[in-house]
């Protein structure tokens, strides 16, 4: 897309319009090429430089290229608005001969399915959605496993026994994260309380910062977030508290405060999916990989974390990896302290995907969304 535009513009030679086009058009790039490689397309909701969600997906794309080399040729389009715009971009990709297209935001669900119907030979993979088709699969990461591990760290390290959680919207994905985090913290420290503040936004650095400071004011000495910017890390750093990041290693924003972060490694998943198309074994399925597959992981642990806590986290991570333990193994208590899942049982994936209640240790009432 951008190559076409540039060709047209170079005739006119106007720097201003060139800049304009470069800035307002979604930028797409071509990487690698060989004799008849598999063409893989990626549609991103944000800029690849957001240090968050989209950044992680693009790292995954690069990893796949490293792994498969000449066998694949990738294209990506960034900052594609959800809705009608995305349908246009996805259709264009399919029409241009891509064999496999990853659409990486929830709002691309219906557009992806719509385009998929028209291009039955192209394979589609939609992240975070729940609707599948003949040639459309879905995938997501078990980020809650990382949340649980960071909860262990927070529970061990808090001195005030109040941990602050800046959340976005009360949907199952976010509630699952809060619960996993709280369960981890509670397991190592039954006195700990997790205070949740809903910022009612995915992304507003100033508001995220105010939410963080509000929590600090109310006694929290460790913060974590389920919003997209690094403002919470910054707030913690400036107030001399600790924080746990999300999406990517956010330590550049506050090296002292940043204990670790739950991160996504999509590379392994993308490589596996591309391979399956190459050898003809691709099928539409719902993939939910996590720590075992290396898709969910932790950023490097801060040296401020005591060695025994580090060891505990590593041990738990190993158990989850080997399938010996699950995050929501019973007993799981609700806020009232009643046993919802008895010891010896574990919550099913379906239960996890529909989480609409808080576990014991979360303070306040879950808002009805």
């Amino acid at each position: 897309m951008i190559r076409l535009a540039e060709k047209r513009l170079s005739k006119k030679g106007s720097t201003l319009t060139k800049l304009l086009t470069a800035a307002t058009l979604a930028v797409s790039c071509n990487v690698a090429s060989a004799a008849d490689p598999l063409k893989v397309g990626f549609v991103y909701v944000g800029p690849t430089g957001d240090a968050g969600w989209t950044y992680a997906h693009d790292e995954g794309r690069k990893y796949m290229v490293d792994q498969l080399g000449d066998q694949v040729e990738t294209t990506f389009v960034e900052s594609v608005a959800e809705g009608a715009d995305s349908e246009r971009v996805i259709r264009q990709m399919a029409a241009k001969g891509h064999d496999l297209i990853f659409t990486t935001s929830f709002g691309y669900m219906n557009p992806t399915l719509k385009v998929a119907k028209r291009f039955p030979k192209v394979k589609f993979e939609h992240a975070t959605g729940y609707k599948r088709g003949k040639n459309t699969g879905t995938y997501f990461a078990r980020a809650y496993q990382g949340r649980y591990l960071t909860g262990l760290i927070a529970g061990k390290m808090t001195e005030s026994n109040v941990i602050g959680y800046v959340a976005s919207f009360p949907i199952p994905e976010v509630i699952r994260g809060i619960n996993a985090f709280t369960k981890g913290a509670q397991e190592v420290n039954p006195d700990v309380k997790v205070k949740v503040v809903w910022a009612s936004t995915w992304y507003d650095p100033a508001k995220e910062r105010e939410a963080a400071e509000t929590l600090i004011l109310q006694g929290a000495d460790i913060l974590t977030q389920h919003t997209d910017s690094a403002a919470v890390i910054q707030a913690a750093q400036s107030k001399g508290k600790f924080a746990i990041g999300y999406h990517s290693d956010m330590s550049p924003y506050g090296a002292k405060a940043h204990l670790t972060a739950t991160i996504h490694n999509w590379g392994a998943l993308y490589t596996q999916k591309a391979k399956s198309v190459l050898d003809g074994t691709w099928k539409s399925e719902d993939l939910w990989p996590g720590i075992a597959e290396g898709v969910t992981d932790l950023a490097p642990l801060n040296d401020a974390i005591p060695a025994d806590v580090k060891a505990l986290v590593m041990a738990k991570k190993q158990e989850i990896k080997e399938g010996k333990a699950r995050v929501f193994d019973g007993p799981v208590l609700n806020q009232a302290g009643e046993e919802v899942v008895p010891a010896g049982q574990s919550m099913s994936d379906n239960d996890l995907k529909g989480f609409n209640w808080y576990v014991n240790g979360v303070e306040g009432q879950l808002p009805k969304s």
């Binding site: 307002t24 800029p47 004011l217 969304s369």
Partner: protein, 308 residues
Amino acid sequence: MDIELITNILFATIRTGTPLILIALGEMVCEKSGVLNLGQEGMVLMGAVLGFIASVVTGHAGFGILAAIFAGMLMSVLFGFLAISLVSNQVATGLALTIFGIGLSAFLGAGYVGMAIDGITAWEIPYLSDIPIIGKILFSHDPLVYLSWGIFGLLFWCFKSTRLGLTIRAVGENPEAANAIGISVMKVRYGAVLFGGAMAGLAGGYLSIAYTPMWSEGMSAGRGWIALALVVFASWKAERILLGAYLFGAASIMHLVLQGLGFEASPNLLAMLPYAATIIVLVVLASDAVKTKLSTPLALGQPYRPQV
């Protein structure tokens, strides 16, 4: 609620209201001269990104702020050239400026995501900040907050009792008449648009250098639009802009604080509070239809073609 909590709430209120005040005061002057510039969001983002880049490159937050102001002015010159000199449609041009600014700032800032700067820190005014409670609320901010008060005072005085204020208003009320008595409509409008751009750029710098010292795409998160609405609801009066912005700030902070206190209400409803409260108060204040009409710049949004 104890005193410390209330102090902190009021302190945060001022910080939250500041970017809105800066943007809205700039836009107010712009609109008083009869020019409707919807490009605030784009100018704010350009100020934020160039301010941040300049801070990184020079290592001085002060240079960053100057660069932010300069960036906003550059954007407004572009707008002025199209909307004033070429007499293009102001609404369409302003919207284009916003889209352009969002895109260009993302493009320029791509390499600066994830970088850290020192940013502007609070400057506690000697003696004044020692006053209990009030000192913490009013006199322990970063310098840009004090600057916003200074600019407010100047504008208030300017439109209350100076010839310059009258001139700007004349141009916004009836450019033909202003032209007839020898006022250069073009010059006044360019000046007002430039001032608006500088203020929007400054607000951007405030966000990326003082408030949350980082650059990330779209970090203004719609503040330009809120400020635009604020100008109208404040009936183009500086003192009401100040009031509205702080009201908005207070309600935004309460949205967060009340949740932490265990207040049982839907956070979605609470998130609506800043908008609802600000609109209600300002609409009630502007309930006198005649007075409100008097303060509305009559020629707002209308292009002016100089008679040759």
